[in-house]
């Protein structure tokens, strides 16, 4: 019955259907797989995926072996969770105010139709009791929570649900370091009144890997969500965040930086709905792309009539083409129906300033180093809100990447 949901399945889709058929799904998982089945792996004929064709990039599920590129030194008090592609490992001892549960069974994924790859993760998880987490935050937790994702062979799926209770806070660092041919990771945030979360995310993968990191976030009254993501991409990497302001005065910061070397593709897609009055969204996405690399930015702010009144929202995307042959695709969208709002957006892509490069060279800095220094400074602005324990290391990772580029 599951295969019938997919029309003309590709080899990869057939393998996914088979994998699903081996499970004993409950209603919610079946619904999620059906939602996935309506589109199959997203492809370029779908408006939201026109620049990021997953179906083409994943002809079949095939294993990869890859080591993590970057070792991030974590603060000694970090609460470390890791996912090996199949199962989560959770520390025995947790600080007060932090509860972590492994979940099995069905759990509705309301945005399944808008997020087909997220729906796929929702359908594939919760069967084993090892790959789905519920993380409840019921205090201002002062130890950062670290989630490391590495491994999975041919395919990896995980789902993590954060419930942050009223006026509680959590700092999260997620490190996605590849190791799976195809992976889809779904994270859902529910922030109650006055709750806050500061999420920092680092994504790396080899040139054989296709990764989708899907996030949804619901913000109640005066909740605050801050996200800083640094992504190096992969054969294809989509980092998609759908956020909804549901209570008055909620605040969101969605910052991202992408770096794409030759043969790498990085996609940042965001969708923010201002579903309550007086909410604030600030979004800054920066990118730097080398010859043969591809960067994609799709950002949308939706501000409905009446409920979206007094919205304050700004979206900026700035990208650098490091070399000829770099490709950047950008689509910033503001859809505004309320009349008393402040919404701004800006979108630029260009090359490094030759005058600045010459000035730096005149002071003794060789051109490749001058390029790296300028680009690093450009990218670092999007990482200013990253968690202080890892921020410098993210900038360092950016620097290493830039030093390895040919330049010119």
């Amino acid at each position: 019955m599951t295969t019938t949901a997919l029309k003309n399945p590709s080899e990869a889709e057939r393998q996914l259907a088979e994998r699903f058929a081996r499970q004993k799904p409950e209603v919610a998982q079946k619904a999620a797989f059906e939602a996935f089945g309506r589109t199959g792996l997203p492809h370029r004929r779908m408006e939201q995926w026109k620049w990021t064709d997953v179906r083409q990039a994943v002809p079949e599920l095939a294993p990869v072996t890859a080591d993590a590129d970057t070792t991030i030194e974590l603060p000694s008090n970090a609460v470390k969770l890791s996912f090996d592609g199949t199962a989560w490992t959770i520390p025995d001892e947790l600080p007060a105010g932090l509860n972590i549960f492994l979940i099995s069974g069905g759990h509705d994924f309301a945005q399944a139709d808008a997020l087909p790859v997220g729906a796929l993760a929702a359908s594939m998880t919760g069967h084993s009791g090892k790959d789905m987490l519920m993380i409840e935050v019921s205090a201002k937790v002062d130890r950062p929570l670290v989630l490391s994702y590495h491994g999975g062979d041919d395919a990896a799926f995980s789902r993590v649900v954060f419930v942050v209770r009223e006026a509680c806070h959590v700092d999260i660092f997620e490190h996605y370091s590849g190791g799976s041919g195809f992976s889809s990771f779904l994270t859902e945030f529910g922030l109650a009144e006055g709750a806050s979360a500061n999420r920092t995310l680092l994504q790396e993968a080899s040139q054989q890997e296709v990764t989708a990191i899907t996030t949804t976030a619901h913000l109640e009254t005066k909740a605050a969500f801050t996200q800083s993501a640094l992504a190096f991409g992969g054969k294809l990497c989509r980092i998609e965040t759908h956020l909804e302001h549901k209570g008055e005065g909620a605040e969101a910061t969605l910052n991202g930086a992408y770096l794409a070397a030759s043969g790498y593709h990085t996609d940042f897609t965001t969708h923010v709905t201002h579903g309550a009055e007086s909410c604030v969204t600030s979004q800054l996405t920066k990118g730097a792309v080398a010859d043969g690399g591809r960067g994609v930015f799709q950002g949308k702010f939706l501000v409905p009539r009446t409920i979206g009144q007094f919205t304050d929202a700004e979206m900026q995307h700035q990208a650098l083409l490091l070399e000829n042959g770099a490709e950047i695709f950008a689509k910033p969208e503001l859809e505004i129906y309320a009349d008393d709002v402040e919404c701004e957006h800006g979108n630029t892509s260009g090359q490094l300033d030759e005058d600045a490069l010459f000035y730096m060279q005149q002071r003794g800095i060789p051109k490749p180093e001058a390029r790296a220094l300028l680009t690093e400074a450009f990218i670092a602005e999007a990482l200013e809100k990253a968690h202080e324990d890892v921020r410098a290391q993210l900038v360092e990772a950016t620097r290493r990447f830039l030093r390895n580029q040919r330049g010119g």
Binding site: D353, E354, D355, A356, F358, Y359, M360, Q361, Q362, R363, G364, I365, P366, K367, E369, L373, L374, E376, A377, F378, A380, E381
Partner: protein, 253 residues
């Protein structure tokens, strides 16, 4: 020290290409400060760019050497490491890179090219503080990105700050006096004078006698139509002030 012989250079691309330096010869011996004056568009900044190796300002014939080394053969950063410094007529903004980070990176890059050790952090900070004080540059300014949001005068003072930090063997100052208030002009001139030494040369491009009152040049050259058309002692600047270029150029033509 700096020796230019029959230097010719074009700027611009394609049809817009034109010869700006046209057989320019000039020698500045070590220990001397020479001034260059000349009408707008004469090629003074072009000369400074040709010597420092800016893209699009290539010499087509002639030679330029610093202590016998062929400048025209080197990359811009190699020329800097060889001791050549240009105080820009229009200093450039470097967004996101704080002054202290930038100057330290520059000094260390020069040292690396010369095969020397890096400057230690305490030495660097101490030196920056001392020079900053001399030039009335406060510590906050040194934390800001290079030239971003700086006033015209602040940019010029920052050029001199960098020159004093780098202690180049040869400095070209391209209209460093323009945009400076009366006190800042004095401060900057004091900085320049402090760097005068037997083994260092300087070329000061200016339109005004005012700066030359503070920095007493050994020689003054008039650059017009891409070459040095007249040279003399400090009195030549005074004569220019009185008679203007028309008088002087009429005389040589």
């Amino acid at each position: 020290m700096l020796k230019l012989d029959n230097l010719t250079a074009d700027v611009g691309e394609g049809d817009g290409r034109k010869t700006i330096l046209n057989g320019l010869s000039l020698e500045v011996p070590a220990g001397e400060v020479h001034a260059i004056m000349g009408p707008n568009g004469a090629g003074k900044s072009t000369l400074s760019y040709v010597l420092t190796g800016r893209d699009g300002y290539e010499a087509t014939s002639g030679t330029a050497t610093l202590n016998g080394d062929d400048l025209l053969d080197m990359e811009p950063d190699e020329r800097a490491a060889a001791g050549l410094f240009l105080s820009f007529q229009y200093p450039v903004e470097i967004p996101g890179v704080p002054v202290m980070t930038f100057v330290r990176a520059a000094i260390n890059a020069q040292r690396k090219t010369r095969g020397e050790d890096e400057i230690s952090a305490p030495d660097f900070i101490k030196k920056a503080r001392e020079i900053g004080q001399k030039l009335n540059i406060d510590a906050d300014m040194l934390k800001r990105p290079v030239n971003v949001g700086f006033s015209g005068g602040e940019k010029k003072r920052l050029e001199i700050f960098q020159m004093m930090m780098m202690e180049p063997r040869f400095a070209i100052l391209d209209e460093t006096d323009s945009g400076l208030d009366i006190d800042a002009l004095k401060t900057v001139a004091d900085g320049v004078n402090a760097l005068r030494s037997e083994d260092r040369g300087m070329l000061v491009i200016t339109h005004y006698q005012r700066l030359l009152d503070h920095i007493k040049p050994d020689r003054v050259h008039v650059l017009a139509k891409g070459r040095i058309v007249k040279s003399g002692g400090p009195e030549l600047a005074l004569q220019l002030e009185k008679e203007g270029y028309d008088g002087i150029l009429g005389e040589v033509a």
